[in-house]
């Protein structure tokens, strides 16, 4: 238990130093923090965009990160995914559990579906696959960001990481205007379920060599986003 003893010692030392620095006595933490009024938040928390504006802003901003974006009708989804796979020579496509079966029911015969459920795929299988198809939890128009929360149709984090090509389908209803709205919608994911959250804004990039932006040092080098237009 030497390690354990040393650890709680360090904890006491640090807390002692902090209280010394702040010139305060030992404080009861729960009461202390609850008693604080919320800070002034005068920044915007709602966006003024109409649904139509959000849709187009999202598509435009995602494209600016060198991702391909298309706005499509619900009934065309399967056909678009089929064409994208055939045009890009995708022979193996990873899909998470809970994916909308209509999206993958019309794939060409040559395309192998790699399902992560019920048996999870191995790292090697994922690494050797050509592409991954997922849904999303949210889109943010202002920043062109896709947010995954490991929910149904999105799967484990690693699924969208190892394949070189990510095809992501998102519905217009899932697009919010600005970041504060997205954070609010993630409340229950984080506070209640504790599931991981990944924000994706364009394909992997670096500007480490003489500040030239290069795609794909690690994550997927291609990102293709299909936005399903809301039925009016």
């Amino acid at each position: 238990m030497v390690e354990g003893a040393k650890m709680s010692e360090s904890k006491d030392v640090i807390l002692g130093r902090i209280r010394g620095a702040l010139k305060k006595e030992v404080s009861d933490k729960a009461d202390d923090l609850l008693a604080l009024p919320d800070i002034l938040r005068s920044y915007e928390q709602q966006s003024s965009h109409s649904d139509e504006e959000k849709l187009h802003l999202f598509a435009e901003r995602v494209s600016e990160y060198r991702a391909v974006t298309e706005i499509i009708a619900e009934e065309d989804t399967g056909e678009r995914i089929r064409t994208i796979c055939s045009e890009s020579g995708v022979k193996s496509l990873v899909v998470p559990g809970g994916i909308d079966e209509k999206w993958v029911s019309t794939l060409d015969d040559g395309v192998r579906l790699l399902r992560d459920e019920p048996e999870p795929l191995t790292k090697e299988e994922l690494n050797n696959s050509d592409a991954v198809l997922t849904g999303a939890f949210l889109g943010v128009a202002q920043t062109g960001t896709i947010i995954l929360n490991a929910g149904t149709g999105q799967g484990r984090r690693v699924l969208t990481l190892l394949p070189d090509f990510h095809i992501c389908v998102i519905r217009q209803e899932q697009i919010v205007g600005i970041i504060p709205q997205a954070i609010k919608k993630l409340d229950s994911t984080v506070i209640e379920t504790g599931r991981p959250v990944t924000m994706i804004s364009g394909p992997s990039a670096t500007s480490d060599i003489e500040l030239n932006r290069v795609e794909g040092v690690h994550g997927p080098r291609r990102l293709h986003v299909l936005v399903i237009k809301q039925k009016s």
Partner: protein, 478 residues
């Protein structure tokens, strides 16, 4: 990391001279700073509520610092509840010992790492290396720096001092690649292949953290390349090191920081990837998570009421890119993992003023205030700089002893004070000076003075006293 270029810490004014002479470095840094500066301004101007966000950012961080003990305890509780482990480390040695112990228990000799200035601060890689554990840096730039046995020169673009052909030669030699062009895309591809192999077999990952939420225990790594995703997702065990000041109270606070940070740092609306995790998730990512809470001098900064705001820093590097001093000397001249204006106030406070090199940093500024203007959490860097200069002088007075009393600057200032006391003394000295300076004036300036006075002219030119002084001219006019 085998450091082939271990820099000996010397005062800033000495090291700056060496880097000023390096034109490649100056060109790279100048180009980078200009590019990022313009981009950042665009990204920021797009938000009409930028000033409100800055204010909120500052208020949140201020609250954290004023209740740091309580928030740390809350964070600890949240992380444990979410299935993680929490360790407290008083200093770098303490942290390195904990981390090395954890890695050894896993029985591995190689770990993958995502860039973290905090782990550079505590020299974690060296500590691991001593125990026979190799830490592989997985950021493209960090990999370049590591392969070269060099030190990072910019928080955001650590390999800014290397150009593409230097990088190509390095990769060819160290990664055993026979044919390689110097196109950035090809260089990135070479790094991708090399690192991917290592990611797939890694069982322990080490990361820093940009923020950790006290309320939920959620930790985030903000990044561009995807190696942050790799390191925090692929290995079975994840070890994250964070300074105790990185806490934010609530999940909601990301409303503010997920806007402030990307626009200030990479000057984008959003950087490519943000990875948030809360303890462990069944079947998704690491099944063992350790969070190390590091003090290492931060509580000393906290104790100084003017200096305390230094801890608000979210390491965006915006202040570096607007700094006229940094733009000319680059990062290495600061002899610290924290370069630029933030380094000039953070390093002396972390290390203490007995460290001569650190104590010279508050003077590495013209106090132009550009850093304060761009800082997303409104740290008044010039105020802290001036405050620290005062402390340096006081420290010298207290600890300098007789050495300080006979110090040239001290004596010089005393002499000047006497001279300025009466008109007669002042004018007499001017007349003497006019005669004396004849020996030293060259092309209208004095660049070299003899003896002790040489210290003054070693870093600046002095204007000679004019043939006719203002006072003489005024008298003649009447």
């Amino acid at each position: 990391m085998n450091k082939t270029t271990a820099h000996k810490p010397v005062p800033f004014e000495q090291s700056a001279g060496r880097y000023l002479a390096d034109t490649q470095l100056r060109r790279n840094i100048g180009h980078a700073a200009q590019t990022i500066r313009a981009k950042r301004a665009n990204a920021v101007n797009e938000l009409s509520d930028w000033e409100d966000l800055r204010e909120a950012g500052r208020l949140i961080k201020e609250r954290v610092m004023n209740n740091l003990d309580s928030y740390l305890l809350q964070l600890e509780e949240s992380v444990i509840k979410a299935g993680g482990h929490v360790h407290w480390a008083t200093d770098g040695e303490d942290a390195n010992r904990i981390i090395t112990g954890l890695v050894k228990r896993k029985g591995v000799t190689e770990v993958v790492k995502v860039k973290s200035i905090t782990t550079d601060e505590i020299k974690l890689n060296d500590a691991l290396e001593k125990e026979g554990i190799h830490a592989l840096e997985t950021d493209l730039a960090e990999l370049i720096v590591q392969l070269a046995g060099d030190e990072p020169s910019h928080i955001l673009v650590p390999a800014i001092h290397k150009n593409r052909s230097e990088i190509r030669d390095l990769f060819k030699e160290k990664l055993n690649i026979e044919h390689l062009s110097d196109k950035p895309a090809d260089l990135a591809e070479a790094a991708r292949l090399y690192l991917r192999k290592n990611f797939l077999k890694a069982t322990v990952g080490i990361s820093g953290a940009n923020f950790a939420v006290a309320e939920t225990g959620t930790v985030v790594v903000v990044e561009s390349e995807g190696n942050g995703r790799m390191c925090t997702t692929l290995p079975d065990t994840l070890i994250t090191v964070m300074g105790i000041e990185k806490i934010i109270p609530k999940w909601q606070d990301f409303e503010v920081f997920m806007q402030l940070l990307p626009r200030s740092s990479t000057a984008e609306r959003m950087n490519p990837y943000n990875n948030f995790w809360t303890g462990i998730s069944d079947g998704d990512g690491p099944q063992e998570f350790h969070l190390i809470l590091l003090d290492n001098g931060r509580t000393k900064v906290l104790a100084d009421e003017t200096g305390r705001q230094t801890l608000f820093c979210i390491r965006c590097s915006a202040c570096l890119n607007v700094c006229p001093v940094y733009e000319r000397t680059g990062g290495h001249a600061y002899h610290s993992v924290y370069p630029g204006p933030i380094g000039a106030i953070l390093t002396p406070q972390l290390r203490g003023l007995q460290d001569q090199s650190a104590a010279s940093l508050p003077y590495a500024s013209s106090l132009c205030g550009a850093c304060y203007e761009v800082c997303p959490v409104k740290i008044n860097i010039p105020e802290v700089l001036v405050h620290l200069r005062g402390k340096v002088v006081e420290y010298k007075k207290e600890h300098g002893g007789i050495g300080h009393k006979t110090d040239t600057i001290h004596l010089g200032m005393k002499f000047m004070a006497r001279t300025f006391q009466t008109r007669n003394r002042y004018e007499r000295l001017q007349r003497l000076g006019k005669i004396g300076q004849k020996l030293f004036v060259k092309d209208g300036a004095i660049s070299r003075l003899p003896g002790e006075l040489a210290k003054w002219t070693s870093i600046r030119d002095v204007k000679p006293i004019p043939k006719q002084t203002f006072r003489e001219w005024w008298r003649e006019r009447k």
